[in-house]
Protein backbone atom coordinates (compact mmCIF):
# COMPACT_ATOMS: atom_id res chain seq x y z
CA UNK A 1 0.00 0.00 0.00
CA UNK A 2 3.04 2.28 0.41
CA UNK A 3 3.03 3.10 -3.28
CA UNK A 4 -0.60 4.20 -3.43
CA UNK A 5 -1.09 7.96 -3.12
CA UNK A 6 -4.25 8.64 -1.13
CA UNK A 7 -6.09 11.96 -1.27
CA UNK A 8 -9.08 13.08 0.79
CA UNK A 9 -11.31 15.95 -0.35
CA UNK A 10 -13.33 17.96 2.18
CA UNK A 11 -16.12 20.12 0.88
CA UNK A 12 -19.76 20.98 1.23
CA UNK A 13 -22.58 19.80 -0.99
CA UNK A 14 -22.57 21.97 -4.13
CA UNK A 15 -18.85 22.85 -4.09
CA UNK A 16 -17.93 19.97 -6.38
CA UNK A 17 -15.71 17.81 -4.16
CA UNK A 18 -16.93 14.62 -5.83
CA UNK A 19 -16.53 16.09 -9.31
CA UNK A 20 -13.01 17.23 -8.42
CA UNK A 21 -12.07 13.70 -7.35
CA UNK A 22 -13.55 12.24 -10.55
CA UNK A 23 -11.84 14.82 -12.83
CA UNK A 24 -8.49 14.21 -11.16
CA UNK A 25 -8.99 10.44 -11.38
CA UNK A 26 -9.88 10.58 -15.06
CA UNK A 27 -6.92 12.81 -15.87
CA UNK A 28 -4.48 10.65 -13.89
CA UNK A 29 -5.88 7.59 -15.67
CA UNK A 30 -5.40 9.25 -19.05
CA UNK A 31 -1.79 9.93 -17.98
CA UNK A 32 -1.29 6.18 -17.46
CA UNK A 33 -1.89 5.79 -13.72
CA UNK A 34 -4.14 3.31 -11.96
CA UNK A 35 -6.80 5.26 -10.10
CA UNK A 36 -9.80 5.21 -7.84
CA UNK A 37 -12.16 8.14 -7.31
CA UNK A 38 -15.21 7.93 -5.08
CA UNK A 39 -17.28 10.01 -2.70
CA UNK A 40 -18.64 9.08 0.68
CA UNK A 41 -22.37 9.02 0.06
CA UNK A 42 -24.26 10.60 2.90
CA UNK A 43 -27.41 12.70 2.84
CA UNK A 44 -27.13 14.62 -0.42
CA UNK A 45 -27.96 18.27 0.22
CA UNK A 46 -26.42 21.66 -0.42
CA UNK A 47 -24.07 22.75 2.34
CA UNK A 48 -23.72 19.40 4.11
CA UNK A 49 -20.14 18.20 4.70
CA UNK A 50 -18.98 15.96 1.84
CA UNK A 51 -15.94 13.70 1.57
CA UNK A 52 -14.41 12.40 -1.64
CA UNK A 53 -11.33 10.29 -2.18
CA UNK A 54 -8.66 9.43 -4.73
CA UNK A 55 -6.15 6.66 -4.89
CA UNK A 56 -3.43 6.98 -7.53
CA UNK A 57 -0.76 4.37 -8.21
CA UNK A 58 1.57 2.95 -10.83
CA UNK A 59 0.31 -0.53 -9.90
CA UNK A 60 -3.26 -1.92 -9.95
CA UNK A 61 -5.18 -0.88 -6.82
CA UNK A 62 -6.86 -3.72 -4.92
CA UNK A 63 -8.33 -2.16 -1.79
CA UNK A 64 -11.96 -1.07 -1.67
CA UNK A 65 -12.22 0.61 1.72
CA UNK A 66 -12.40 4.24 2.74
CA UNK A 67 -9.24 6.30 2.79
CA UNK A 68 -8.54 6.69 6.51
CA UNK A 69 -5.01 8.14 6.64
CA UNK A 70 -4.56 10.27 3.52
CA UNK A 71 -1.16 11.74 2.69
CA UNK A 72 -2.82 14.62 0.85
CA UNK A 73 -5.84 16.55 2.10
CA UNK A 74 -7.68 19.13 0.01
CA UNK A 75 -10.10 21.47 1.78
CA UNK A 76 -12.66 23.27 -0.37
CA UNK A 77 -14.34 24.96 2.60
CA UNK A 78 -12.13 26.10 5.51
CA UNK A 79 -15.12 26.31 7.90
CA UNK A 80 -14.91 22.49 8.02
CA UNK A 81 -11.57 22.70 9.87
CA UNK A 82 -13.17 23.39 13.25
CA UNK A 83 -15.07 20.10 13.09
CA UNK A 84 -11.76 18.24 13.37
CA UNK A 85 -12.56 16.07 10.38
CA UNK A 86 -9.87 17.62 8.17
CA UNK A 87 -6.89 16.43 10.21
CA UNK A 88 -8.52 13.16 11.36
CA UNK A 89 -6.33 10.15 10.67
CA UNK A 90 -3.76 12.16 8.72
CA UNK A 91 -0.10 11.24 9.11
CA UNK A 92 2.26 13.86 10.60
CA UNK A 93 3.82 14.64 7.24
CA UNK A 94 0.47 15.13 5.47
CA UNK A 95 0.17 17.79 2.78
CA UNK A 96 -2.77 20.18 3.17
CA UNK A 97 -4.11 22.27 0.30
CA UNK A 98 -6.72 24.71 1.61
CA UNK A 99 -9.08 27.12 -0.10
CA UNK A 100 -8.64 30.29 1.96
CA UNK A 101 -7.49 33.91 1.79
CA UNK A 102 -5.18 33.19 4.75
CA UNK A 103 -1.44 32.68 4.35
CA UNK A 104 0.04 29.19 4.76
CA UNK A 105 1.46 30.05 8.21
CA UNK A 106 -1.90 31.43 9.40
CA UNK A 107 -3.65 28.33 8.08
CA UNK A 108 -1.06 26.07 9.72
CA UNK A 109 -2.05 27.54 13.10
CA UNK A 110 -5.74 26.99 12.38
CA UNK A 111 -5.11 23.40 11.38
CA UNK A 112 -2.92 22.89 14.43
CA UNK A 113 -0.26 20.97 12.54
CA UNK A 114 3.47 21.52 13.08
CA UNK A 115 4.98 19.10 10.56
CA UNK A 116 4.02 18.42 6.95
CA UNK A 117 3.23 21.08 4.40
CA UNK A 118 0.41 23.60 4.19
CA UNK A 119 -0.59 25.27 0.92
CA UNK A 120 -3.24 27.96 0.55
CA UNK A 121 -5.01 29.57 -2.37
CA UNK A 122 -8.13 31.75 -2.56
CA UNK A 123 -9.99 29.44 -4.92
CA UNK A 124 -13.38 30.92 -4.07
CA UNK A 125 -12.24 34.37 -5.26
CA UNK A 126 -10.63 32.80 -8.34
CA UNK A 127 -13.84 30.94 -9.26
CA UNK A 128 -15.88 34.12 -8.69
CA UNK A 129 -13.50 36.02 -11.00
CA UNK A 130 -13.31 33.35 -13.71
CA UNK A 131 -16.76 31.75 -13.56
CA UNK A 132 -18.90 34.27 -11.72
CA UNK A 133 -19.82 31.54 -9.21
CA UNK A 134 -18.26 30.19 -6.05
CA UNK A 135 -17.46 26.67 -7.25
CA UNK A 136 -13.88 26.23 -6.08
CA UNK A 137 -13.34 22.63 -7.16
CA UNK A 138 -11.46 23.01 -10.45
CA UNK A 139 -9.04 25.72 -9.23
CA UNK A 140 -8.30 23.55 -6.18
CA UNK A 141 -7.14 20.78 -8.53
CA UNK A 142 -4.75 23.30 -10.13
CA UNK A 143 -3.41 24.19 -6.67
CA UNK A 144 -3.15 20.49 -5.72
CA UNK A 145 -1.13 19.69 -8.84
CA UNK A 146 1.28 22.56 -8.13
CA UNK A 147 1.61 21.60 -4.46
CA UNK A 148 2.25 17.90 -5.04
CA UNK A 149 3.53 17.57 -8.61
CA UNK A 150 1.34 14.48 -8.92
CA UNK A 151 0.88 15.07 -12.64
CA UNK A 152 1.70 17.61 -15.33
CA UNK A 153 -0.63 20.62 -15.41
CA UNK A 154 -0.90 20.49 -19.19
CA UNK A 155 -1.96 16.81 -19.06
CA UNK A 156 -4.68 17.66 -16.56
CA UNK A 157 -5.86 20.67 -18.55
CA UNK A 158 -6.05 18.85 -21.86
CA UNK A 159 -8.03 15.96 -20.37
CA UNK A 160 -10.33 18.27 -18.41
CA UNK A 161 -10.89 20.53 -21.42
CA UNK A 162 -12.07 17.48 -23.34
CA UNK A 163 -14.45 16.47 -20.52
CA UNK A 164 -15.83 19.98 -20.08
CA UNK A 165 -16.31 20.49 -23.80
CA UNK A 166 -18.32 17.28 -23.94
CA UNK A 167 -20.54 18.42 -21.07
CA UNK A 168 -20.69 22.18 -21.69
CA UNK A 169 -20.13 22.30 -25.45
CA UNK A 170 -22.89 24.89 -25.86
CA UNK A 171 -21.41 27.13 -23.15
CA UNK A 172 -17.78 27.77 -24.12
CA UNK A 173 -17.52 30.39 -21.35
CA UNK A 174 -17.76 27.66 -18.72
CA UNK A 175 -14.97 25.65 -20.35
CA UNK A 176 -12.61 28.62 -20.70
CA UNK A 177 -13.52 29.96 -17.25
CA UNK A 178 -12.63 26.66 -15.62
CA UNK A 179 -9.34 26.37 -17.50
CA UNK A 180 -8.43 29.94 -16.52
CA UNK A 181 -9.33 29.23 -12.89
CA UNK A 182 -7.17 26.08 -12.85
CA UNK A 183 -4.19 27.97 -14.30
CA UNK A 184 -4.61 30.93 -11.92
CA UNK A 185 -4.78 28.71 -8.84
CA UNK A 186 -1.72 26.81 -10.08
CA UNK A 187 0.14 30.15 -10.25
CA UNK A 188 -1.19 31.70 -7.03
CA UNK A 189 -0.98 28.82 -4.55
CA UNK A 190 1.58 29.40 -1.79
CA UNK A 191 3.04 26.88 0.59
CA UNK A 192 5.38 26.33 3.50
Amino acid sequence: MGDVLEIRWHGRGGQGAKTAALLLGEAASAAGKHIQAFPEYGPERMGAPVLAFNRISDEPIMVHCHVSSPRIIVVLDPTLIRTGSVTAGAPEDAVYVVNTHLSPSEMRKKLGVSAGKVFTVDATQISLDCLGRAIPNTPMIGALIRATGLMKLEDFISDTRRKLEKKFGSKPGIVEGNIKAIERAYQEVKGE
Binding site: M1, E26, I35, A37, P39, Y41, I61, H64, C65, S68
Partner: protein, 425 residues
Protein backbone atom coordinates in the same frame (compact mmCIF):
# COMPACT_ATOMS: atom_id res chain seq x y z
CA UNK B 1 -8.57 -13.99 -31.82
CA UNK B 2 -7.76 -11.06 -34.06
CA UNK B 3 -7.84 -8.61 -31.19
CA UNK B 4 -5.46 -10.35 -28.84
CA UNK B 5 -2.26 -8.69 -30.05
CA UNK B 6 -3.84 -5.26 -30.12
CA UNK B 7 -4.86 -5.68 -26.50
CA UNK B 8 -1.33 -4.86 -25.42
CA UNK B 9 -1.87 -1.31 -26.54
CA UNK B 10 -5.42 -0.86 -25.22
CA UNK B 11 -5.31 1.78 -22.54
CA UNK B 12 -7.10 1.86 -19.24
CA UNK B 13 -10.02 4.22 -19.05
CA UNK B 14 -11.46 5.66 -15.84
CA UNK B 15 -15.02 4.42 -15.34
CA UNK B 16 -17.47 3.66 -12.57
CA UNK B 17 -18.82 0.12 -12.29
CA UNK B 18 -22.20 1.29 -13.57
CA UNK B 19 -20.59 2.98 -16.59
CA UNK B 20 -18.58 -0.15 -17.36
CA UNK B 21 -21.64 -2.39 -17.12
CA UNK B 22 -23.73 -0.04 -19.29
CA UNK B 23 -20.89 -0.05 -21.83
CA UNK B 24 -20.85 -3.86 -21.82
CA UNK B 25 -24.61 -3.83 -22.44
CA UNK B 26 -24.11 -1.47 -25.38
CA UNK B 27 -21.53 -3.84 -26.83
CA UNK B 28 -23.72 -6.89 -26.19
CA UNK B 29 -26.49 -4.98 -28.00
CA UNK B 30 -29.39 -7.09 -26.68
CA UNK B 31 -32.62 -7.39 -28.64
CA UNK B 32 -34.72 -6.31 -25.67
CA UNK B 33 -34.02 -4.51 -22.39
CA UNK B 34 -36.91 -3.97 -19.99
CA UNK B 35 -35.79 -2.18 -16.86
CA UNK B 36 -36.83 0.06 -14.03
CA UNK B 37 -34.41 2.37 -12.20
CA UNK B 38 -33.45 1.86 -8.57
CA UNK B 39 -30.49 3.18 -6.58
CA UNK B 40 -27.66 2.22 -7.00
CA UNK B 41 -28.44 0.56 -10.35
CA UNK B 42 -30.16 3.67 -11.81
CA UNK B 43 -27.16 4.84 -13.84
CA UNK B 44 -27.03 1.57 -15.78
CA UNK B 45 -30.59 2.06 -17.02
CA UNK B 46 -30.08 5.80 -17.52
CA UNK B 47 -26.87 5.41 -19.54
CA UNK B 48 -28.24 2.49 -21.54
CA UNK B 49 -31.40 4.43 -22.38
CA UNK B 50 -29.21 7.21 -23.86
CA UNK B 51 -27.56 4.56 -26.07
CA UNK B 52 -31.04 3.58 -27.24
CA UNK B 53 -32.07 7.21 -27.80
CA UNK B 54 -28.86 7.92 -29.71
CA UNK B 55 -29.35 4.88 -31.94
CA UNK B 56 -26.14 3.20 -30.76
CA UNK B 57 -27.96 -0.09 -30.13
CA UNK B 58 -30.78 -1.83 -31.94
CA UNK B 59 -32.40 -2.73 -28.62
CA UNK B 60 -36.13 -2.49 -28.02
CA UNK B 61 -36.12 -0.64 -24.70
CA UNK B 62 -39.24 -1.22 -22.62
CA UNK B 63 -39.90 1.32 -19.89
CA UNK B 64 -41.92 -0.64 -17.38
CA UNK B 65 -43.67 0.54 -14.21
CA UNK B 66 -42.00 -1.89 -11.77
CA UNK B 67 -39.33 -4.53 -11.48
CA UNK B 68 -41.97 -7.25 -11.46
CA UNK B 69 -42.96 -6.05 -14.92
CA UNK B 70 -39.30 -5.61 -15.90
CA UNK B 71 -38.60 -9.27 -15.30
CA UNK B 72 -41.96 -10.31 -16.78
CA UNK B 73 -41.29 -8.40 -20.00
CA UNK B 74 -37.75 -9.77 -20.14
CA UNK B 75 -39.10 -13.30 -19.73
CA UNK B 76 -41.66 -12.73 -22.49
CA UNK B 77 -38.99 -11.39 -24.81
CA UNK B 78 -36.62 -14.26 -24.04
CA UNK B 79 -39.38 -16.83 -24.60
CA UNK B 80 -40.03 -15.22 -27.98
CA UNK B 81 -36.40 -15.88 -28.86
CA UNK B 82 -34.84 -12.51 -28.06
CA UNK B 83 -31.52 -11.92 -26.31
CA UNK B 84 -33.06 -10.08 -23.36
CA UNK B 85 -31.58 -8.27 -20.39
CA UNK B 86 -32.62 -6.20 -17.39
CA UNK B 87 -30.82 -4.84 -14.32
CA UNK B 88 -31.80 -4.16 -10.73
CA UNK B 89 -30.91 -3.78 -7.05
CA UNK B 90 -32.31 -4.46 -3.60
CA UNK B 91 -36.05 -3.77 -3.25
CA UNK B 92 -36.45 -3.92 -7.00
CA UNK B 93 -34.76 -7.30 -7.01
CA UNK B 94 -37.11 -8.39 -4.22
CA UNK B 95 -40.10 -7.25 -6.28
CA UNK B 96 -38.93 -9.51 -9.13
CA UNK B 97 -38.99 -12.48 -6.82
CA UNK B 98 -41.71 -14.71 -8.24
CA UNK B 99 -40.57 -13.97 -11.78
CA UNK B 100 -36.97 -14.99 -10.98
CA UNK B 101 -38.11 -18.56 -10.44
CA UNK B 102 -40.16 -18.46 -13.63
CA UNK B 103 -37.15 -17.31 -15.69
CA UNK B 104 -35.11 -20.21 -14.31
CA UNK B 105 -37.91 -22.77 -14.59
CA UNK B 106 -38.51 -21.80 -18.21
CA UNK B 107 -34.75 -22.16 -18.82
CA UNK B 108 -34.47 -18.70 -20.37
CA UNK B 109 -30.88 -17.46 -20.72
CA UNK B 110 -31.57 -13.92 -19.46
CA UNK B 111 -28.53 -11.96 -18.27
CA UNK B 112 -29.01 -9.42 -15.49
CA UNK B 113 -26.53 -7.14 -13.76
CA UNK B 114 -27.42 -6.74 -10.09
CA UNK B 115 -25.93 -3.90 -8.08
CA UNK B 116 -25.90 -5.32 -4.56
CA UNK B 117 -27.71 -3.23 -1.96
CA UNK B 118 -29.16 -3.89 1.47
CA UNK B 119 -32.83 -4.75 1.94
CA UNK B 120 -35.27 -2.75 4.06
CA UNK B 121 -36.06 -2.43 6.91
CA UNK B 122 -34.44 -0.12 8.09
CA UNK B 123 -34.18 1.78 4.81
CA UNK B 124 -30.65 1.77 3.43
CA UNK B 125 -29.29 2.31 -0.08
CA UNK B 126 -25.77 0.98 0.49
CA UNK B 127 -24.00 -2.26 -0.22
CA UNK B 128 -24.54 -5.65 1.19
CA UNK B 129 -25.36 -8.96 -0.48
CA UNK B 130 -28.74 -9.59 1.16
CA UNK B 131 -30.66 -9.01 -2.07
CA UNK B 132 -29.01 -11.62 -4.28
CA UNK B 133 -28.18 -14.04 -1.45
CA UNK B 134 -31.90 -14.44 -0.86
CA UNK B 135 -32.24 -15.72 -4.42
CA UNK B 136 -29.46 -18.27 -4.17
CA UNK B 137 -31.98 -21.09 -4.46
CA UNK B 138 -33.92 -19.55 -7.36
CA UNK B 139 -32.07 -21.51 -10.06
CA UNK B 140 -30.19 -18.51 -11.42
CA UNK B 141 -26.47 -18.62 -12.05
CA UNK B 142 -24.81 -16.08 -9.72
CA UNK B 143 -21.45 -14.53 -10.51
CA UNK B 144 -19.81 -11.99 -8.18
CA UNK B 145 -17.39 -9.26 -9.25
CA UNK B 146 -14.57 -7.69 -7.24
CA UNK B 147 -14.29 -4.43 -9.19
CA UNK B 148 -15.53 -2.58 -12.25
CA UNK B 149 -13.24 -4.54 -14.58
CA UNK B 150 -14.65 -7.82 -13.39
CA UNK B 151 -18.24 -6.56 -13.57
CA UNK B 152 -17.61 -5.66 -17.23
CA UNK B 153 -15.79 -8.90 -18.04
CA UNK B 154 -18.29 -11.07 -16.15
CA UNK B 155 -21.29 -9.55 -17.90
CA UNK B 156 -19.88 -10.33 -21.34
CA UNK B 157 -18.98 -13.88 -20.29
CA UNK B 158 -22.39 -14.40 -18.65
CA UNK B 159 -24.06 -14.12 -22.06
CA UNK B 160 -22.05 -17.08 -23.33
CA UNK B 161 -22.52 -19.07 -20.12
CA UNK B 162 -26.30 -18.57 -19.91
CA UNK B 163 -26.86 -19.22 -23.62
CA UNK B 164 -24.69 -22.35 -23.73
CA UNK B 165 -26.88 -25.21 -25.03
CA UNK B 166 -25.54 -27.31 -22.15
CA UNK B 167 -26.86 -24.78 -19.65
CA UNK B 168 -29.80 -22.57 -20.76
CA UNK B 169 -30.25 -20.85 -17.41
CA UNK B 170 -30.57 -17.18 -16.47
CA UNK B 171 -27.48 -15.54 -14.99
CA UNK B 172 -27.04 -12.56 -12.70
CA UNK B 173 -23.76 -10.68 -12.47
CA UNK B 174 -23.36 -9.00 -9.09
CA UNK B 175 -21.28 -5.99 -8.12
CA UNK B 176 -21.12 -4.08 -4.87
CA UNK B 177 -23.42 -1.08 -4.70
CA UNK B 178 -21.67 2.32 -4.53
CA UNK B 179 -18.28 0.77 -3.71
CA UNK B 180 -17.99 -0.59 -7.26
CA UNK B 181 -21.07 0.83 -8.99
CA UNK B 182 -20.23 4.47 -8.17
CA UNK B 183 -16.49 4.23 -7.59
CA UNK B 184 -14.34 5.27 -10.53
CA UNK B 185 -11.58 2.80 -11.38
CA UNK B 186 -9.21 1.88 -14.18
CA UNK B 187 -10.92 -0.41 -16.69
CA UNK B 188 -9.81 -1.96 -19.98
CA UNK B 189 -12.58 -2.26 -22.54
CA UNK B 190 -12.84 -4.52 -25.56
CA UNK B 191 -13.55 -3.32 -29.06
CA UNK B 192 -17.20 -3.65 -30.10
CA UNK B 193 -16.37 -6.28 -32.74
CA UNK B 194 -14.43 -8.31 -30.19
CA UNK B 195 -17.43 -8.46 -27.87
CA UNK B 196 -19.76 -9.31 -30.73
CA UNK B 197 -17.38 -11.98 -31.98
CA UNK B 198 -17.05 -13.43 -28.49
CA UNK B 199 -20.77 -13.67 -27.71
CA UNK B 200 -21.79 -14.51 -31.29
CA UNK B 201 -25.16 -14.12 -32.97
CA UNK B 202 -27.92 -15.32 -30.71
CA UNK B 203 -29.72 -18.40 -31.91
CA UNK B 204 -32.43 -19.27 -29.41
CA UNK B 205 -32.87 -22.95 -28.63
CA UNK B 206 -36.63 -22.44 -28.64
CA UNK B 207 -38.82 -19.58 -29.76
CA UNK B 208 -42.51 -18.89 -29.37
CA UNK B 209 -42.36 -17.14 -32.73
CA UNK B 210 -40.97 -20.17 -34.57
CA UNK B 211 -44.28 -21.34 -36.00
CA UNK B 212 -42.67 -24.32 -37.73
CA UNK B 213 -41.69 -25.70 -34.35
CA UNK B 214 -44.58 -24.80 -32.05
CA UNK B 215 -43.93 -25.02 -28.31
CA UNK B 216 -45.85 -24.43 -25.11
CA UNK B 217 -44.33 -22.09 -22.54
CA UNK B 218 -45.50 -21.93 -18.95
CA UNK B 219 -47.79 -24.91 -19.12
CA UNK B 220 -49.70 -26.38 -16.19
CA UNK B 221 -47.55 -29.17 -14.85
CA UNK B 222 -48.98 -31.12 -11.92
CA UNK B 223 -47.79 -34.18 -10.08
CA UNK B 224 -47.42 -36.05 -13.35
CA UNK B 225 -44.43 -34.10 -14.81
CA UNK B 226 -43.50 -31.09 -12.61
CA UNK B 227 -40.95 -33.12 -10.68
CA UNK B 228 -39.22 -34.32 -13.86
CA UNK B 229 -38.92 -30.76 -15.13
CA UNK B 230 -37.47 -29.56 -11.83
CA UNK B 231 -35.09 -32.53 -11.88
CA UNK B 232 -33.94 -31.42 -15.33
CA UNK B 233 -33.46 -27.90 -14.02
CA UNK B 234 -31.24 -29.27 -11.26
CA UNK B 235 -29.34 -31.33 -13.84
CA UNK B 236 -28.75 -28.18 -15.88
CA UNK B 237 -26.73 -26.75 -12.99
CA UNK B 238 -24.21 -29.60 -13.21
CA UNK B 239 -22.40 -28.53 -16.41
CA UNK B 240 -22.35 -24.83 -15.47
CA UNK B 241 -18.94 -24.94 -13.79
CA UNK B 242 -17.34 -26.57 -16.81
CA UNK B 243 -18.91 -24.01 -19.15
CA UNK B 244 -17.79 -21.15 -16.87
CA UNK B 245 -14.22 -22.48 -17.00
CA UNK B 246 -14.27 -22.89 -20.78
CA UNK B 247 -15.71 -19.42 -21.37
CA UNK B 248 -13.30 -17.90 -18.82
CA UNK B 249 -10.32 -19.48 -20.56
CA UNK B 250 -11.47 -18.33 -23.98
CA UNK B 251 -12.02 -14.83 -22.62
CA UNK B 252 -8.46 -14.95 -21.30
CA UNK B 253 -7.14 -15.71 -24.77
CA UNK B 254 -8.98 -12.68 -26.10
CA UNK B 255 -8.13 -10.22 -23.33
CA UNK B 256 -5.24 -11.58 -21.25
CA UNK B 257 -7.67 -11.78 -18.33
CA UNK B 258 -8.61 -15.40 -17.66
CA UNK B 259 -11.38 -16.28 -15.24
CA UNK B 260 -12.00 -19.42 -13.18
CA UNK B 261 -14.67 -20.56 -10.76
CA UNK B 262 -12.90 -18.63 -8.03
CA UNK B 263 -9.61 -16.85 -7.56
CA UNK B 264 -7.07 -18.56 -5.33
CA UNK B 265 -4.83 -15.72 -4.15
CA UNK B 266 -1.52 -16.92 -2.61
CA UNK B 267 -3.48 -19.94 -1.40
CA UNK B 268 -1.19 -22.79 -2.50
CA UNK B 269 0.81 -23.12 0.70
CA UNK B 270 -1.49 -21.04 2.90
CA UNK B 271 -1.99 -22.01 6.53
CA UNK B 272 -4.68 -19.38 7.18
CA UNK B 273 -7.17 -18.15 4.59
CA UNK B 274 -10.14 -15.87 4.16
CA UNK B 275 -13.06 -16.72 1.86
CA UNK B 276 -14.82 -13.64 0.52
CA UNK B 277 -16.71 -12.35 -2.48
CA UNK B 278 -17.15 -8.93 -4.02
CA UNK B 279 -15.04 -5.84 -3.44
CA UNK B 280 -13.85 -6.93 0.02
CA UNK B 281 -11.78 -9.66 -1.64
CA UNK B 282 -9.53 -6.91 -3.04
CA UNK B 283 -9.02 -5.33 0.37
CA UNK B 284 -8.23 -8.77 1.80
CA UNK B 285 -5.60 -9.35 -0.91
CA UNK B 286 -3.75 -6.26 0.30
CA UNK B 287 -3.71 -7.74 3.81
CA UNK B 288 -2.49 -11.09 2.44
CA UNK B 289 0.42 -9.29 0.74
CA UNK B 290 1.33 -7.53 4.01
CA UNK B 291 1.24 -10.78 5.97
CA UNK B 292 3.27 -12.66 3.36
CA UNK B 293 5.99 -10.01 3.68
CA UNK B 294 6.08 -10.82 7.39
CA UNK B 295 6.39 -14.52 6.62
CA UNK B 296 2.79 -15.45 7.52
CA UNK B 297 1.38 -18.10 5.19
CA UNK B 298 -1.84 -16.23 4.46
CA UNK B 299 -4.12 -16.70 1.46
CA UNK B 300 -7.51 -15.81 0.06
CA UNK B 301 -10.21 -17.64 -1.86
CA UNK B 302 -12.43 -15.22 -3.74
CA UNK B 303 -15.64 -16.83 -4.90
CA UNK B 304 -16.67 -15.83 -8.42
CA UNK B 305 -19.28 -18.47 -9.33
CA UNK B 306 -21.51 -18.66 -6.28
CA UNK B 307 -24.47 -20.49 -7.85
CA UNK B 308 -24.17 -23.26 -8.71
CA UNK B 309 -21.63 -23.65 -5.91
CA UNK B 310 -18.42 -25.25 -7.22
CA UNK B 311 -18.06 -27.41 -4.13
CA UNK B 312 -15.44 -29.93 -5.20
CA UNK B 313 -12.99 -27.39 -6.59
CA UNK B 314 -13.37 -25.19 -3.52
CA UNK B 315 -12.80 -28.13 -1.17
CA UNK B 316 -9.65 -29.07 -3.07
CA UNK B 317 -8.36 -25.48 -2.93
CA UNK B 318 -9.00 -25.16 0.82
CA UNK B 319 -8.07 -28.66 1.94
CA UNK B 320 -4.50 -27.78 2.96
CA UNK B 321 -5.50 -24.70 4.97
CA UNK B 322 -5.54 -25.03 8.77
CA UNK B 323 -7.94 -22.21 9.65
CA UNK B 324 -10.48 -20.43 7.45
CA UNK B 325 -12.57 -17.32 8.05
CA UNK B 326 -15.58 -16.92 5.77
CA UNK B 327 -16.63 -13.28 5.34
CA UNK B 328 -20.34 -12.84 4.64
CA UNK B 329 -21.87 -9.51 3.64
CA UNK B 330 -25.35 -10.76 4.56
CA UNK B 331 -26.96 -12.72 7.35
CA UNK B 332 -29.32 -15.67 7.13
CA UNK B 333 -30.93 -14.76 10.49
CA UNK B 334 -30.91 -18.48 11.21
CA UNK B 335 -28.34 -18.42 14.07
CA UNK B 336 -26.15 -20.46 11.70
CA UNK B 337 -24.10 -17.62 10.25
CA UNK B 338 -23.95 -16.19 6.74
CA UNK B 339 -24.87 -18.06 3.56
CA UNK B 340 -21.32 -18.48 2.27
CA UNK B 341 -20.23 -19.84 5.66
CA UNK B 342 -23.01 -22.41 5.63
CA UNK B 343 -22.07 -23.48 2.09
CA UNK B 344 -18.36 -23.73 2.88
CA UNK B 345 -19.01 -25.71 6.05
CA UNK B 346 -21.36 -28.11 4.28
CA UNK B 347 -18.82 -28.54 1.47
CA UNK B 348 -16.01 -29.31 3.88
CA UNK B 349 -17.97 -31.90 5.84
CA UNK B 350 -16.90 -34.85 3.71
CA UNK B 351 -13.29 -33.74 3.81
CA UNK B 352 -13.36 -33.41 7.59
CA UNK B 353 -14.80 -36.87 7.86
CA UNK B 354 -12.15 -38.44 5.75
CA UNK B 355 -14.09 -39.24 2.62
CA UNK B 356 -11.77 -37.02 0.59
CA UNK B 357 -8.73 -37.86 2.70
CA UNK B 358 -6.71 -40.96 3.45
CA UNK B 359 -7.81 -41.43 7.05
CA UNK B 360 -11.34 -42.52 6.31
CA UNK B 361 -10.69 -46.08 7.40
CA UNK B 362 -10.26 -45.02 11.02
CA UNK B 363 -13.98 -44.52 11.13
CA UNK B 364 -14.60 -48.23 10.81
CA UNK B 365 -12.62 -49.00 13.98
CA UNK B 366 -14.56 -46.49 16.02
CA UNK B 367 -11.67 -46.06 18.47
CA UNK B 368 -11.72 -42.88 20.50
CA UNK B 369 -8.20 -41.80 19.46
CA UNK B 370 -8.95 -42.40 15.81
CA UNK B 371 -12.10 -40.38 16.19
CA UNK B 372 -10.13 -37.52 17.70
CA UNK B 373 -7.55 -37.71 14.96
CA UNK B 374 -10.36 -37.67 12.42
CA UNK B 375 -11.99 -34.71 14.09
CA UNK B 376 -8.77 -32.76 13.74
CA UNK B 377 -8.73 -33.29 10.00
CA UNK B 378 -9.54 -30.47 7.73
CA UNK B 379 -9.59 -26.79 8.47
CA UNK B 380 -11.17 -25.02 11.41
CA UNK B 381 -13.80 -22.65 9.99
CA UNK B 382 -15.19 -19.47 11.48
CA UNK B 383 -17.59 -16.88 10.13
CA UNK B 384 -17.66 -13.10 10.18
CA UNK B 385 -20.73 -11.17 9.09
CA UNK B 386 -19.58 -7.70 8.08
CA UNK B 387 -20.41 -4.59 6.10
CA UNK B 388 -24.21 -4.69 6.30
CA UNK B 389 -25.82 -1.58 4.86
CA UNK B 390 -22.51 -0.31 3.49
CA UNK B 391 -20.50 -0.35 6.75
CA UNK B 392 -16.87 0.10 5.68
CA UNK B 393 -14.51 -2.84 6.11
CA UNK B 394 -10.90 -1.71 6.21
CA UNK B 395 -7.47 -3.30 6.28
CA UNK B 396 -7.29 -3.21 10.08
CA UNK B 397 -10.48 -5.25 10.50
CA UNK B 398 -9.22 -7.87 8.05
CA UNK B 399 -5.82 -7.95 9.80
CA UNK B 400 -7.68 -8.86 13.01
CA UNK B 401 -9.43 -11.70 11.21
CA UNK B 402 -6.10 -13.17 10.10
CA UNK B 403 -4.68 -12.66 13.61
CA UNK B 404 -7.52 -14.73 15.01
CA UNK B 405 -6.89 -17.45 12.41
CA UNK B 406 -3.24 -17.59 13.45
CA UNK B 407 -4.34 -17.91 17.08
CA UNK B 408 -6.69 -20.76 16.14
CA UNK B 409 -3.82 -22.58 14.46
CA UNK B 410 -1.54 -21.98 17.46
CA UNK B 411 -4.02 -23.00 20.17
CA UNK B 412 -6.41 -25.35 18.40
CA UNK B 413 -9.23 -23.36 20.01
CA UNK B 414 -11.80 -22.17 17.50
CA UNK B 415 -14.04 -20.19 19.86
CA UNK B 416 -17.28 -18.57 18.75
CA UNK B 417 -18.09 -19.84 15.25
CA UNK B 418 -20.10 -16.81 14.11
CA UNK B 419 -19.01 -13.23 14.87
CA UNK B 420 -20.01 -9.79 13.64
CA UNK B 421 -17.18 -7.61 12.37
CA UNK B 422 -17.16 -3.83 12.72
CA UNK B 423 -20.48 -3.50 14.56
CA UNK B 424 -21.35 -1.82 17.87
CA UNK B 425 -22.53 -4.64 20.15
Amino acid sequence: MAGSLEQETVKFVAMTGNEAVAEAMRQINPDVVAAYPITPQTEIVQIFSTFVADGLVKTEFVTVESEHSAMSATIGAAAAGARAMTATSSQGFALMWEMLYIAAGLRLPIVMPVVNRALSSPINIHCDHSDTMGARDSGWIQIFSENAQEAYDNLIQAVRIAESRDVLLPAMVCMDGFIVSHGMESVKLLMDEEVRGFIGEYEPAYSLLDVDHPITVGALDFADWYFEHKRQEAAAEAPVAEVVLKVGEEYGKLTGRSYGLFEAYRLDDAEVAVVALGSTAGTAKAVVDELRQKGVRAGLLKIRLYRPFPKDAIVRALSGVKAIAVLDRSDTFSTMGGPVFIDIKASMYDLMHGEHGEHGEHDAHGAQDAREARDMQGPRIVNYIYGLGGRDIDLEQIRKVYERLQAIVATGETGEPVSYLGVRE
